[in-house]
Symmetry: C2
Subunit: 292 residues, 2 copies
């Protein structure tokens, strides 16, 4: 007996984790003529979704997701925003199509890096006949472009910091750990783990206040996509808030990966960056070499 493949529609679904990214994606989708349906993740999405059709679902509730996909005629899904809490295996609520995959799910949750977990989530969603698409496919204007974004450009010292932090971020990314690093005076001083970029920048600010970073050197934040990352999920992103935190940490600027990271609310971000004298620039990292 074969489980029949569900009828799929064409409506866009947005699985919304934490942070402001899902709202930017949802608004950008509307601009592009979509009528997105929001699947807000329990304990993750803190956004008020009153202006959008939406439902709240558990992180591991694949059965619930399937029912909503069918009911709302959702045929494409964007994964968007941070999922800080991994589902515990006891929370996984499979549907008939994911039931056979439960041992693989549990193994992945226990052993996998972020990227492995995301690839599994994509596979499970696509088992419903729903296509997972990147946020950039819905709203390509969100992608970072190469070169300065805003009115300030990195100088020679900044480029050296970009190279140092890029090398560390790439080495970590190859191990499926983190996407961000901060270098000051050519020296990497902070690396992003599970705590995320915001907390890493707070740490840099504290190190600066304690005099453990040179007061004369500013430094940069670099955010890169992991080399083997599925770009349909968890693209690195920066926003006006990232610029504010970088400024508070005394940094000279931010470099993010051109074509593989998202710049949210670009107008506000540029205004904040120009006001604080920070550069924001899109780079193309080179393994073993220097970012441009």
């Amino acid at each position: 007996m074969e489980a029949s493949r569900p009828e799929t529609g064409s409506r866009l679904g947005i699985i919304a984790g934490g942070g402001r990214l899902p709202l930017y994606v949802a608004e950008a989708a509307r601009v592009h003529g979509e009528d997105p349906y929001i699947l807000a993740l329990t304990d993750e999405s803190e956004q008020d979704w009153a202006g959008f059709d939406h439902a709240v679902v558990g992180v591991g509730d694949y059965g619930g997701l399937s029912r909503i996909f069918a009911r709302e005629g959702i045929g494409r899904v964007v994964l968007s925003g941070a999922v800080r809490r991994r589902p515990e295996w006891r929370e996984i609520r499979p549907n008939i199509r994911t039931l056979l995959q439960v041992p693989a799910i549990i193994r992945t949750l226990l052993n996998g890096g972020d990227d492995t977990v995301l690839k599994m989530v994509i596979r499970l969603i696509e088992a419903n006949g729903v296509r997972v698409v990147g946020a950039d496919e819905i709203a390509p204007e969100l992608l970072a472009t190469e070169g300065p974004i805003g009115g300030v450009a990195p100088d020679a010292d900044d480029r050296r910091d970009i190279a140092a932090a890029s090398a560390a971020a790439l080495a970590l990314g190859a191990l499926d750990v983190g996407q961000g690093a901060v270098a000051v005076g050519g020296r990497v001083i902070a690396l992003e783990g599970a705590e995320g970029t915001d907390q890493m920048l707070e740490r840099v600010q504290a190190l600066r206040q304690e005099g453990r970073i040179s007061r004369r050197r500013r430094g940069v934040l670099v955010k890169l996509c992991k080399p083997h990352q599925d770009t349909r999920a968890d693209l690195p992103s920066i926003g006006a808030d990232t610029v504010r935190r970088a400024a508070a940490a005394g940094l000279a600027g931010i470099a993010c990966e051109a074509g593989r990271s998202l710049v949210l609310d670009r107008d506000l971000l540029v205004k904040e960056a120009n006001g604080a004298g920070l550069f924001v620039t899109g780079i193309v990292p080179r393994v073993g070499g220097e970012g441009k």
Copy 2:
């Protein structure tokens, strides 16, 4: 005209940075029949050195160090403890032997990783005819041995976490960044930058409390020497306090590099580890492979 090489004596000097390591080294040196003279670094050494001959010197005060070396007949020096604050180049007070090296000093302080800076400090001290020796040369019993230290051994899950955190620590060490990493459930979740091991463990504890790390998986701290590190300075070290912080962060244990890291106050550390059910083990990391 040649600057005459100073007369050097044979007394042991200990340049003491922060933390408890310098005191352990000083006490161990006495056990080995030495009469150490302590050069406590301004703003770094918070130890009460009343029981030892000592003087306080600035981090960049090579002129002051030279005078003390000559006056006290110091012929060997151990560098010991954390130097959190790098000297700013304005603080460097050269003597006649280091004057010619000032441009190199400034360049190194501005550009170098920790390891580069330490190698420079060693070169400057040895310009005084004083030999820099490793703490392990004075008190070899401080070195971590291979295999379990204490009554608990890592299980299969722990060994997988050790392998994951070792790979990250080695990748960072190769870039002269950090010596420590924490893995939970096979996934690296925290990386040590300029903040040091204690603050990294506090971060893991916070992530655990916020539910951002699985409650069912314990995890391990790994501390390794950087691959190209001069082992006469800044060997990774663990003590009873590290065990207490690891326990508070919910970790299963600690792995440190056998032969290239220091275990301080081993009896107390073993007592704490056994009491908390934590393993502490010495490993031999393999580049691209698994720690034993």
